[in-house]
């Protein structure tokens, strides 16, 4: 199968999944208690005209689905609603135009609100994940190479313990230690009042704020990547082609680099992509501990405020990111492993 075909097929499948997520997401927030249409207009500061405008814009005055009314046994009758005039259609139509709705609470468009939050979370996640992947892979290779030695057992035990740590608790402990003994800030992104300072001062301050959240994330995920890398590496190093490479006179380093690492890295790619969903779960906890204004914090705040448009938008954004990450991982995988293309 050609690379192009593969891309099309995978992308098609991803689009289909996004479609299903869209439907699920839409109905999830319709069946939950606290109807968005009613919750949104409770704000007494809004004028009636403004309420009507929002209602019309998001079709909140329309039925949810074309024939939902006709399913009611007491009001049986023909389905008279124009399918284009339903909440679902309007929702999808708005989405296609990049409209995610307006936050009930802050009255800011959800897209705009989430963009800033997503950026903050991305900064937090990318720093921690990069460190965790690099150190985890290196540690896993080392542990597998030194299998059944003290180094290996130490790495194994430390990883199993680290894997068992609740993210938020590790964050708390680091926060306690860092703020008391290492002089690091207890949370937030930037020390208040520093906005007027120079670029360099701002940069170092931001970096200092990043240290503890990043460290928390690195430790939690390092353990997982190390364990996976170690076990795949152990399998790979027992393969016959490793013996061939060694018999050719290659040094241990060359064998590890050219023959083992690439073969063992394949599962990690899938795991990292699949993990994206879980890393967001971790981000919720880390952001709560360190008051980091990210996506997780936004979700948490919106739950308390019943801010459904924000929640709906955040869920969609997260699901789409995970799907896209999986798509990229699939493509990367098939690019790295020539057998995948042959098997399709």
């Amino acid at each position: 199968m050609h690379a192009g075909q593969l891309l099309l097929r995978k992308a098609g499948s991803a689009l289909l999944t996004i479609g299903f997520v869209l439907v699920l997401n839409f109905f999830l927030f319709r069946v939950l208690p606290g109807d968005p249409a009613r919750a949104g207009i409770k704000d007494p500061r809004m004028t009636r005209a403004a309420q009507a405008a929002i209602h019309q814009r998001f079709g909140l005055d329309k039925p949810v689905l074309p024939c939902l009314a006709s399913l009611n046994p007491l009001r049986r009758g023909p389905c008279l609603v124009n399918p284009l005039q339903t909440q679902f259609f309007i929702y999808v139509n708005n989405l296609l135009h990049g409209e995610l709705g307006i936050s009930y609470h802050t009255k800011i468009p959800v897209g705009q609100l989430l963009r800033a939050r997503l950026w903050n979370t991305a900064v937090l996640l990318s720093a921690g994940q990069t460190l965790a992947i690099v150190l985890g892979v290196a540690g896993g290779v080392l542990a597998a190479w030194q299998a059944h030695t003290r180094i290996d057992y130490a790495a194994l035990i430390i990883s199993l313990v680290a894997w068992s740590l609740p993210t938020f608790w590790l964050g708390l402990i680091l926060l306690f230690w860092g703020s008391r003994y290492a002089g690091l800030p207890i949370g937030g992104q930037l020390t208040p009042g520093l906005a007027a300072a120079g670029t360099w001062a701002q940069f170092t301050d931001a970096a200092r704020h990043l240290v503890l959240p990043t460290l928390t994330q690195t430790i939690i995920y390092l353990a997982e990547y190390l364990l996976i890398m170690r076990s795949t590496m152990l399998d790979v190093l027992a393969e016959d082609y490793i013996l061939t490479a060694k018999a050719k006179g290659l040094s241990t380093f060359q064998v590890l680099k050219d023959h083992a690492l690439r073969n063992a890295a394949l599962p990690i790619i899938t795991i990292v992509a699949l993990n994206l969903g879980f890393t967001v779960a971790g981000a919720v906890q880390i952001e709560a501990v360190f008051s980091w204004p990210g996506l997780g914090q936004a979700i948490f705040e919106s739950v308390a405020r019943r801010d459904y448009p924000v929640l709906q938008g955040a869920f969609l954004l997260l699901a789409v990111s995970v799907i896209v990450a999986n798509l990229l991982a699939d493509l990367l995988y098939s690019w790295l492993d020539p057998r995948v293309q042959a098997a399709l």
Partner: protein, 623 residues
């Protein structure tokens, strides 16, 4: 490890069950706290200090175990029941059902667990029941995928086909045949799901979504965090509840990891593990081997060691010599030590293999005494190996040509890229593979091409010796003939010496000059090919030849050697072949025979033979 984990969990369970007896105070009791009782440091009265409301942290900790374990067990029960059913149904039904269920699973999988749980718990009511239900309902996707994969694998087994053939109902097949084989995996997975559920519960209650009528560890942390434990330095209020969570989750992790190791044991060793230094006699004793010998092996012994087991003597006191241009056949049943022998020549043994005695002299240099770096320079440049099973011996992710080029570059660092490419093309053409196919991968080759590519790789550095481990097994006769022809040509043109490991006595008769017959790790007979085929001396060699079908004579039945090859862990005290030998006498069962010189260039180890010459020169000298 599994035991340690189970112990930790049982301890936590004990705490939870006997909480009212163990705890100093009931956390639900109303308490009028005075300000000095808040965040009191650990003392004799409060071993773990007090919290923000002046309550005993230790008592809270003990009661907290109840919530964690309850949520962990019940939520994971829901998850595993849903995931297990969906996975088994999808795997068993296949087709459209499978696609629909897996698509559904994918959709649920991409919605992040914790945020979803937060929304659901917050919008319903954070009661213990709701928390269990929500965690159970969002956490089943992993189980579904795992169970589906396992069901698919089990479904292909013969007994499932058989059950279906005799008309068993689907329900019966699933419950009686598939479920028992999915169960072990499901148990391991359940332990993991429990730990995830406990982590999730603690995260939810830390975020303030806990049942206010109970005490949980996450909730204690929530109060401590939001009510100034950090700023007042009350480390005990932060440390203790977290330690509780870690204790339970680590218990699950260890139990799960340990069970997984038992269920699915991994290879204990790999090819890059540190090797034990070979024991070799450094002294260069006077050699009785021919002066022009290229390779001389003297008294080589290899043991395989495993903890709590006697060492297995895989090769014992083995000697032979190889001259330029000579092809030596190495024959013997599977497990007689042939592969161990050839791997030990270049010290490529697995980690459990120990060279306990002997010398491997290549042009007079003892390879067993060389430092690793110098030995690496000998590997492939002087002695190359054609491994058995080319599919596995080639790296699946590197183009075949690249793997050949690698050998050239290693031993000729000065070669330009163009020269290396030219050489690779040449080598492939030499074994009948178009040079352009060097860019392809092993899976794009046929079995015969892979085998020939391995040979091309072995020839890459113009080695003086090639060790070919069953290079023609599993190849069709035409390819086999081509490969033998190629080796023969190279032997004549380049003076290449070959050690040819094979089961095929026909091939031995065709191309070999000498034959080394191994049995149970020792040399049974060692002689020129003529002598072995025409005057076999050792009873094993005779039996081996008799078992080889001879198409020139009318033969009604295939002859086989009765019995089994010896187990290397429990070798017979006398001759290793004695238990299967038809002419064994009492001495054969008591004493191990020495290798005797029984003819001009003929050696055999058997008590029934008379040495023609005193066996003074221990090193046999073939023709």
């Amino acid at each position: 490890m599994a035991l340690a984990g189970a112990g930790m969990l049982l301890f936590a369970l004990g705490l939870a069950v006997f909480a009212p007896l163990l705890a100093a105070e009931d956390p639900r009791r109303a308490l009028l706290a005075t300000s000095y009782a808040i965040y009191a440091a650990p003392s004799a009265q409060h071993w773990l200090g007090t919290d923000d409301a002046g309550r005993d942290v230790l008592s809270n900790l003990i009661f907290g175990a109840r919530v964690s374990l309850t949520v962990g067990f019940f939520a994971s029960f829901i998850s595993v029941a849903i995931g297990g059913s969906i996975g088994m149904l999808a795997g068993y039904a296949g087709g459209a059902t499978d696609r629909a269920l897996m698509r559904f699973t994918d959709v649920v999988l991409v919605i992040p667990d914790l945020p979803l749980a937060i929304v659901l718990v917050a919008l319903t009511k954070p009661s213990l029941f709701n928390i269990i239900l929500v965690i159970g309902l969002v956490g089943w996707t992993g189980t579904a995928r795992l169970v589906r994969a396992q069901t698919l694998a089990v479904k292909q087994r013969k007994f499932v086909h058989r059950a279906r053939a005799v008309g068993a109902s689907d329900w019966r097949i699933i419950t009686r045949h598939i479920f028992p084989l999915v169960l072990p995996l499901l148990v391991v997975n359940t332990v993991l799901v429990i730990s995830l559920a406990i982590l999730e519960e603690s995260a939810l209650s830390f975020l303030g979504l806990s049942d206010p009528t109970t005490v949980s560890w996450g909730q204690m942390l929530n109060y401590a965090f939001s009510r100034g434990a950090t700023s007042s330095g009350a480390w005990w209020a932060l440390l203790a509840p977290g330690a509780g969570i870690v204790w339970v989750v680590l218990g699950c992790t260890l139990l799960g990891y340990g069970l997984e190791q038992i269920l699915n044991p991994r290879a204990k060793a790999h090819h890059l593990m540190r090797q034990a230094a070979p024991q070799t006699s450094a002294a260069q004793s006077a050699s009785s081997a021919p002066a022009d010998a290229l390779l001389e092996v003297r008294g080589l012994s290899v043991d395989f060691v495993a903890p709590q087991q006697p060492p297995a003597h895989a090769v014992q006191d083995l000697s032979f010599a190889l001259r330029p241009g000579e092809i030596m056949g190495l024959v013997g049943e599977s497990g007689c030590g042939k592969t161990t022998l050839i791997l030990s020549l270049l010290r490529l043994l697995p980690a459990a293999g120990r060279i306990t005695a002997g010398q491997v002299l290549y042009r007079g240099r003892n390879l067993l005494a060389l430092p690793e770096a110098q030995l690496a320079a000998v590997r492939w440049k002087e002695i190359a190996i054609v491994f058995q099973g080319a599919m596995n011996a080639l790296n699946p992710l590197l183009p075949v040509g690249r793997q050949i080029a690698e050998a050239v570059e290693r031993h000729d660092p000065a070669a330009t890229n163009a020269a290396v490419a030219r050489r690779v093309g040449e080598l492939l053409e030499q074994v009948g593979i178009p040079a352009a196919r060097g860019r392809q991968f092993a899976h794009q080759y046929s079995g015969g091409m892979r085998q020939r590519a391995m040979i091309a790789m072995a020839l890459a550095c113009d080695p003086k010796i090639i060790i070919a481990d069953e290079p023609t097994t599993a190849l069709d006769v035409i390819i086999q003939a081509q490969i033998l022809e190629l080796l023969n040509t190279l032997r004549q043109r380049l003076g290449l010496a070959v050690i040819f490991v094979t089961h095929d006595l026909g091939v031995v008769a065709e191309i070999c000059d000498t034959v080394l017959v191994m049995y149970g790790g020792v040399a049974a007979e060692y002689a020129s090919v003529d002598a072995v085929f025409n005057q076999p001396q050792h009873p094993y060699t005779r039996a081996l030849l008799a078992a080889f079908p001879d198409f020139s004579r009318q033969q009604n039945a295939l002859v086989s050697i009765p019995g089994q090859p010896p187990r290397l862990h429990a070798l017979p005290p006398g001759c290793r072949f004695a238990p299967r030998c038809s002419s064994a006498v009492a001495q054969c069962h008591a004493q191990q025979p020495r290798l005797l010189r029984v003819g001009a260039e003929h050696y055999a180890s058997c008590h029934l033979l008379q040495p023609t010459l005193p066996a003074g020169g221990a090193i046999p000298q073939p023709a």
